[in-house]
C-alpha cells in the first residue's frame, strides 16, 4: 500500500520539480539584458539551421561532402563565435570588465570574416 503511493508521489514530485526548475530558469533568464538576448537568439538560429542541414543530409545523402561540411561548420562556427562575443560583452563577467564591447564586436566580425572566407573556399 505504501509503495505505489510513494512511487506515484516520487513521480509527481519529479514532475513538480521539473516544473519548478523550468519556472526558475525562465524567470532567471528573463532578467538578462536585451542585447544578450539578441545574441542568444542568433545562436539559437545558427544551431537550428545546422540541425536542418544535418536532417537534409540524412535525407539526400552526403555527396558533395565538402559542401555539407562547410555549411554545417559555418553555422556551428558562427554560433561559437557569437557565444564568445556574449561572454566578452556580458557585464557580469569580471574577467572582461576592461574590454570595450566595441573591441569585442570588432574581434567577432574579424573572426567571422576569416571563417566565411574559408567556407567560401571550401564550399566547392
Amino acid at each position: 500500500m505504501a509503495k505505489p503511493s510513494s512511487a506515484s508521489s516520487s513521480s509527481s514530485s519529479t514532475t513538480k520539480d521539473a516544473q519548478d526548475l523550468l519556472r526558475a530558469l525562465w524567470s532567471a533568464y528573463s532578467a538578462t539584458p536585451s542585447n544578450l538576448k539578441i545574441i542568444d537568439l542568433y545562436v539559437a538560429f545558427a544551431v537550428f539551421s545546422a540541425l536542418l542541414q544535418v536532417v537534409y543530409m540524412a535525407l539526400v545523402g552526403t555527396f558533395p561532402f565538402n559542401s555539407f561540411l562547410s555549411g554545417v561548420l559555418s553555422c556551428v562556427g558562427t554560433a561559437v563565435l557569437a557565444v564568445c562575443l556574449r561572454i566578452q560583452v556580458n557585464k557580469e563577467n569580471k574577467e572582461f570588465k576592461d574590454l570595450a564591447p566595441e573591441r569585442a564586436f570588432a574581434d567577432f566580425v574579424l573572426c567571422n570574416v576569416v571563417l566565411h572566407l574559408v567556407i567560401m573556399n571550401f564550399l566547392g
Binding site: A24, L25, A28, L69, G77, V80, C84, Q88, V118
Partner: protein
C-alpha cells in the same frame, strides 16, 4: 616616489632594449650554428627526402601554383605515377617558393637551390624567437630569453634543420611553437583576435607536417585537464572552441588531409572535448543564474535523463569506430601508440632507422644538459600553477613518451625541454642573484625596487645604521663572515617583506659558487652543441669524407652515378633501385624510377624486393614486366660504407616475402645468421642482389675481401647472363647494370612436345613480355 617611478620605467626601457638586442643575437646564433655543412662541404641539399622537396619546389617556381596544385607526376612509381598535389604537405615548398619569388622580384637573383638550402636556418631563428614568446607567456621575459638561447643550440633540432636539410621539420617546428604560443596567449588574455591568429597558425602547421595531429590532440588534452582540475574559465572556452571549428575547416582545406579531418580517430579527441566543454559551459551558466536549491534539482533531473541519452550516443560512436579494423587510426599513429604494432604489421615503417626507439645515450647526445634541468623546470612550473604552466607540463610529459617510441620524435621533445630548462635556469639565476644583491653591502644601499615602497620607511633607518658600518667594512670584502654577523642584528627588525625575502636568500658564497657552476654548465652545453653541429649532424650523406694518413678522401660517388645516368641514358628510361634512392634519382638524374621514399605502395616495393631476392632469370622477368632498363645498386664493400644494399638486403627479403610467399627469409640465412661468405646458402649466393653487388669484385684485390662484412665473399668468379654492367663509380659505391634484351633464339634443351608451339610463340611473341604473375 616620482624618482622611483622614473627609475623603474627607465629600468624597464633598458631591459626591453637589452632583450631586443639579445633576441637579435640569438637569431644570428641559431642561423650561424647551422652553417657548418656549407663551410665544410658545399651548399648542397642533404640526404634523401630533401631532394624530393627540392624537385617539387623547382616545379613550383617554374610552373606556378595552379600547375603545382594539380600536378600528376609520371616520373615516379612507374607505371602507377603519383598525385603530388594531393599527397604532399605543401607548407615547406610554398614557403620556400614564396621566399624565392619575393627575393627575385626584389632583384636579388638567388637560385632555388640556395633558397632551399638556407630555409631551415632562417626558420630556426624564427623558432627561437617563438620560444621566447611562448616562455614569456608562461614565466616571464628572463625565462623566455634563456629558453630561446637553449633552443637555438639544442642538438636535436640542429640535426633536422642544418643548412641543406630541406625537410618538413625545418618549418614545422617553428609552426608548432608559434601555434602553442598563440594558444597560451589566447588563454591568458581571452581575446578572440588571438584565437583567430591561433587558427591561422594551426593551418600553417597542418600544411607543413603530418605531426600536426600532436597539436590537435595535445590541446584537447590540456582543456580536459583544466576542466577536471577545476580551472574552467570563459577564457578557456574562447581559446578552444573557435580553434576546433576553424581549425577543422582549415585542416580540411589541405588536400593531403581532406576529409580525414573529420573522419579519422586522430581528430575525434578534439570533437569529444568540444562537446564536453559546451556541456561544462552550460552547467556553469545555469549554476550562475539559478539558486543553489534549484541547481541541485536540475542536477538530479539531468543526470537521470541525460545519462540514458549519453549512453545511447556513446554506443553508436563505439560501434562506428569499431567497424573499421584499425579503429579509425592511421598506420603511423597506431605505430606511435603501440610501439610493437609496426614490427608486426607494417614492416616498411619498422625498417626505417629513424623509427626505432632511441637509446639512453641518444637522449644525452640530443638534449644534453637539458635532461637534468627538465625535472627542475617541472617543479618550477608548479609554483605557482597556472593554465599556461600546466600546458607546458603536459607537453613535456607527452613528448617524452613519444620520443621514447621513435627516435625521430626527439625533435618534438626538444622545444619542451628547452622551455622547461629555461624556466628552471631563470628561476635559479633569479634566486642566486637576488641573494647576492641583498647581501653585498654596496648594493643594498640603493634600496632596489623589490624591497617595496611599503617598507621604505623601515629600510631607511637601517640604511643609516648600515652606512656607518659599510664605511668601515667597505674595503674589507674578504672578511665576509664578520660582515654577516654584523648584518644579522641589523636586518632582524626590518618589515615583513624583508623577512619574506630572507627566506629565499641563500648564503653569499653559495650563491656565487652556484652561479659560477651554472655558467660552467651552460658552457659545457654550448661546447657540446657546437661539437654536435660541426661533427655529428653536418654530414650531407650525399658526399662522404674520410681522413686517412694521406689526407682527406672525398667520396662523391652518388652524384657521379646520377650524372652518368642523366648524360648516358634516354630521357624515358626507367631505373630500378631500392626505394631509398628514388627521390635522389628523380631529382638529380632526372629519370623515371619504380619505387621511391614515399613508400605508399607496399606491393610495388615488394615487387622490387622480390626481384632483388630472386635468381637472375626470374629477376629479369620481373624487371622486364615493369619496363625497367637499368638497375642501380649501392655497394660499400670496397671502401667500408656501411649503409649499402647488402646490409639492407634482409629488409628487401622481408618486405618481398610479406607479399610474395615464395620468398622465405630462412632461405637466405645459415643457422639464423646472415652471411655472404662461403658458408652462405645457395639461395643467397644466387640472388640478384649478391650478383650485382659482387660482380667482378675479385678483380679489385684478388681476394674479394668485403670491408663492411669483414669476410671474403662466397662466390667470387661468376658471369652475369641477363644483365650487363654499364657503369661502376670510382670507389665502386654505385653500380649500374642494364637489362640485356631477350635472345633471338633459345639454345639448349626445349621439350619436344612443346617445341613447335614454343618456337612459334618465341618467333611471334618475342616482343611481348611474359608477366610472371
Amino acid at each position: 616616489m616620482a624618482a622611483t617611478d622614473a627609475q623603474t620605467s627607465l629600468r624597464h626601457a633598458f631591459g626591453n632594449v637589452l632583450a631586443f638586442f639579445i633576441l637579435i643575437l640569438i637569431g644570428v646564433l641559431a642561423f650561424s650554428i647551422r652553417l657548418f655543412s656549407v663551410i665544410k662541404y658545399e651548399s648542397v641539399i642533404h640526404e634523401f627526402d630533401p631532394y624530393f622537396n627540392y624537385r617539387v619546389t623547382q616545379f613550383l617556381t617554374k610552373n606556378g601554383i595552379y600547375d603545382f596544385w594539380n600536378w600528376f607526376d609520371d616520373r615516379t612509381w612507374y607505371p602507377l605515377g603519383r598525385v603530388i598535389g594531393g599527397t604532399v604537405y605543401p607548407g615547406l615548398t610554398l614557403t620556400a617558393g614564396t621566399l624565392w619569388w619575393v627575393l627575385n622580384s626584389l632583384n636579388i637573383p638567388l637560385s632555388v637551390e640556395t633558397v632551399c638550402v638556407f630555409t631551415a636556418p632562417i626558420f630556426s631563428a624564427f623558432a627561437s624567437w617563438a620560444t621566447y614568446l611562448l616562455t614569456k607567456e608562461v614565466k616571464g621575459a628572463g625565462a623566455g630569453l634563456t629558453a630561446a638561447v637553449l633552443l637555438a643550440m639544442v642538438p636535436s633540432y640542429i640535426s633536422r634543420s642544418v643548412a641543406g636539410s630541406y625537410d618538413n621539420e625545418a618549418v614545422a617546428i617553428f609552426a608548432l611553437i608559434f601555434t602553442f604560443y598563440l594558444y597560451i596567449k589566447t588563454l591568458n588574455t581571452g581575446s578572440l583576435f588571438y584565437a583567430t591568429l591561433n587558427s591561422i597558425a594551426y593551418f600553417y602547421m597542418v600544411c607543413s607536417w603530418g605531426g600536426y595531429t600532436f597539436i590537435i590532440n595535445l590541446i584537447p588534452m590540456h582543456v580536459l585537464l583544466c576542466i577536471v582540475t577545476g580551472r574552467y574559465s570563459s577564457r578557456l572556452y574562447i581559446a578552444y572552441a573557435p580553434l576546433v571549428v576553424l581549425g577543422t575547416l582549415l585542416a580540411a582545406l589541405v588536400p593531403v588531409v581532406g576529409f580525414n579531418a573529420v573522419m579519422t580517430s586522430e581528430h575525434f579527441a578534439s570533437f569529444l572535448v568540444f562537446i564536453l566543454i559546451h556541456v561544462v559551459a552550460l552547467v556553469y551558466y545555469i549554476k550562475g543564474i539559478l539558486s543553489p536549491k534549484m541547481f541541485k534539482v536540475a542536477v538530479t533531473l539531468v543526470v537521470s535523463g541525460g545519462l540514458a541519452v549519453g549512453f545511447a550516443m556513446i554506443a553508436v560512436l563505439v560501434a562506428m569506430v569499431a567497424a573499421s579494423p584499425t579503429m579509425g587510426w592511421s598506420g603511423r599513429s597506431l605505430s606511435l601508440l603501440d610501439p610493437t604494432y609496426a614490427s608486426k604489421y607494417i614492416p616498411i615503417i619498422a625498417s626505417v632507422s629513424e623509427h626505432q626507439p632511441p637509446t639512453w645515450p641518444s637522449y644525452f647526445m640530443d638534449i644534453n644538459v637539458l635532461a637534468f634541468l627538465v625535472p627542475a623546470g617541472i617543479i618550477a612550473c608548479f609554483s605557482p600553477l597556472s593554465d599556461a604552466s600546466s600546458f607546458v607540463i603536459l607537453y613535456i610529459v607527452t613528448s617524452v613518451y613519444f620520443s621514447g617510441v621513435m627516435v625521430r620524435l626527439m625533435l618534438v621533445l626538444a622545444p619542451a625541454a628547452c622551455i622547461l630548462s629555461g624556466i628552471a635556469l631563470s628561476q635559479a639565476f633569479d634566486v642566486f642573484t637576488r641573494s647576492i644583491k641583498l647581501q653585498l653591502p654596496s648594493l643594498s644601499v640603493d634600496s632596489h625596487v623589490n624591497a617595496g615602497d611599503a617598507s621604505s620607511e623601515s629600510v631607511v633607518p637601517d640604511d643609516t645604521v648600515k652606512t656607518d658600518k659599510t664605511e668601515d667594512t667597505h674595503k674589507e670584502r674578504t672578511s665576509k663572515k664578520s660582515k654577516k654577523k654584523e648584518k644579522e642584528p641589523v636586518e632582524k627588525p626590518p618589515s615583513k617583506s624583508q623577512i619574506k625575502k630572507r627566506l629565499l636568500v641563500l648564503p653569499l658564497e653559495t650563491s656565487i659558487i652556484a652561479i659560477v657552476l651554472l655558467v660552467l654548465l651552460g658552457a659545457f652545453y654550448v661546447v657540446h652543441s657546437v661539437w654536435a653541429a660541426a661533427e655529428a649532424y653536418s654530414a650531407p650523406s650525399i658526399v662522404l669524407t674520410s681522413h686517412s694518413h694521406d689526407g682527406l678522401h672525398v667520396f662523391d660517388d652518388f652524384r657521379e652515378a646520377y650524372a652518368w645516368l642523366s648524360h648516358n641514358t634516354e630521357v624515358d628510361d626507367k631505373v630500378a633501385s631500392w626505394w631509398d634512392y628514388g627521390y635522389q634519382t628523380t631529382a638529380m638524374a632526372n629519370r623515371t624510377v619504380i619505387v621511391d621514399n614515399n613508400t605508399w605502395n607496399n606491393t610495388h616495393i615488394a615487387t622490387v624486393g622480390t626481384a632483388m631476392s630472386s635468381p637472375e632469370k626470374a629477376a629479369w622477368e620481373i624487371f622486364n614486366s615493369l619496363d625497367v632498363k637499368y638497375v642501380l645498386v649501392v655497394f660499400g664493400g670496397l671502401v667500408g660504407y656501411p649503409s649499402d644494399d647488402i646490409n639492407k638486403f634482409l629488409w628487401m627479403v622481408r618486405i618481398g616475402g610479406g607479399v610474395f610467399p615464395h620468398i622465405k627469409e630462412p632461405d637466405y640465412l645459415r643457422d639464423g645468421q646472415y652471411r655472404i661468405d662461403n658458408m652462405a646458402t645457395p639461395t643467397m649466393l644466387n640472388c640478384l642482389m649478391y650478383k650485382l653487388s659482387y660482380y667482378r669484385f675479385v678483380e679489385t684485390d684478388g681476394k674479394a675481401y668485403d670491408r663492411v662484412r669483414r669476410t671474403e665473399i662466397g662466390k667470387k668468379y661468376f658471369k652475369l647472363t641477363h644483365f650487363e654492367e654499364v657503369f661502376t663509380t670510382h670507389h665502386w659505391m654505385v653500380r649500374i647494370y642494364k637489362l640485356k634484351p631477350p635472345k633471338n633464339r633459345i639454345r639448349g634443351k626445349t621439350k619436344k612436345t612443346k617445341s613447335k608451339a614454343s618456337s612459334k610463340t618465341v618467333s611471334k611473341k618475342q616482343g611481348i613480355k611474359k608477366n610472371p604473375f
